[in-house]
């Protein structure tokens, strides 16, 4: 027997794309990311000045209907980070990868939004406490 492996992604059907969004107190304009990972440092959520942050949200856009809605959000004071969730792909004679969701990391836990439209809640930092968050 001969064993071949292909370091590739699984066959998830794309349903939702995700982007991050920051809403601020007062009249400071919201900052919104793109539907695909940023290609410039200044377009990354991690480089946005978070002073006065009211809400941090993950927005999803349906791949077919183009409907846009908030999947999860947390208070600004609880927000830590957004992360893209990715799978490595190297098949068909070229190497690439794709994202399959976005994570909102907050003070007490994580919220994974998957391209299938499902949301998974998890703990971070050795605690099983979960903060107040909103599922829309």
């Amino acid at each position: 027997m001969s064993a071949n492996e292909n370091y590739v992604a699984t066959n998830f059907a794309n349903r939702w794309l995700f982007r991050w969004r920051f809403d601020f107190f007062s009249n400071k304009a919201p900052r919104i990311g793109g539907w695909f990972p940023a290609t410039r440092l200044e377009d990354m959520a991690s480089t946005v000045n978070k002073d006065g942050l009211a809400w941090a949200s993950v927005e999803g856009k349906h791949f077919i209907t183009k409907e846009v809605k908030v999947f999860v959000q947390c208070h600004g004071e609880d927000f830590i980070n957004f992360q893209h969730l990715a799978l490595h792909i190297s098949s068909g004679g070229r190497a690439t990868q794709r994202t399959f969701g976005m994570r909102l990391e907050h003070r007490y836990g994580i919220l994974n939004c998957y391209e299938t439209g499902t949301i998974e809640e998890g703990a971070r930092g050795g605690t099983d406490q979960y903060p107040e968050w909103t599922r829309v």
Binding site: N6, Y7, T10, P37, A38, S46, H84
Partner: protein, 223 residues
């Protein structure tokens, strides 16, 4: 910024691009026969393995949640059966593995095994005692319910897989963390994930020909 993961057969190499049966590219572990494993150098000495290196080009933060699982082959299938059938076969091999010897001396090992310790000794590599520490995993075998057969049941990259390539040699990361690979200059977390892979066949195997499946690396990076 967007982060690109590279999965290579050498520490500074390009993505694995062996030509596979059917015409796709990936990682060819080679041939094996019943009671042995691939890649094999000398069975009695427990030598022979496939190195797999992971690195990335993130500039802000390390990548996290690095995990591995196998899935149905997604390339152009060129095996002896079907892509779906091969995935089932490999998963079943892992579930049925009752081996106790790293070199398959008892002939009871089967399936795709990974050893997630970059500098494990030849004598110890793929040893079954390493399952208890999480360093060794067999796809399809259950470890507290995790079988490595789906994203939800994926195996975490063990902390001992983290190493640092300083441009001349591979050394220990000073304070590595499970599932994390640091940026290129990160000596603390390390800038490489380095695992080893083998494919085992037990002595009573009746299937022959090429078996094909995907090994998937999932991870998260700062947006």
């Amino acid at each position: 910024m967007s982060v690109t993961l590279t999965v290579s057969e050498t520490i500074t190499g390009a993505n694995a691009s062996d030509t596979l049966a059917g015409g796709s590219t990936g990682l060819d572990l080679g041939q094996t026969t019943n009671g042995q494993y691939a890649p094999l150098t000398l069975q009695s000495a427990n030598t022979g393995h496939q190195d797999i290196f992971l690195r990335h080009d993130a500039v802000v933060d390390p990548i996290t949640d690095v995990k591995f699982y196998i899935a149905q082959f997604s390339g152009v299938y060129g095996g002896a059966g079907t892509a779906a059938g091969d995935f089932t076969i490999v998963g079943n091999y892992g579930a049925a593995d009752t081996g106790t010897t790293a070199n398959n001396g008892d002939g009871l090992s089967r399936g795709s095994h990974i050893d997630m310790s970059w500098d494990v000794s030849v004598a110890s590599q793929f040893g079954y005692a390493r399952e208890a520490t999480g360093q060794k995993r067999i796809f399809g075998k259950s470890y507290s319910g995790n079988t490595g057969l789906s994203l939800a049941l994926a195996f975490d990259m063990h902390v001992d897989a983290a190493s640092y390539w300083n441009g001349a040699s591979e050394v220990d990361a000073t304070t590595p963390v499970t599932g994390k690979i640091g940026k290129s200059t990160d000596t603390v977390l390390g800038n490489r994930g380095h695992i080893r892979n083998r494919f085992y066949l037990h002595t009573g195997e009746t299937n022959g020909g090429v078996v094909q499946y995907d090994t998937v690396c999932s991870f998260a990076y700062t947006a």
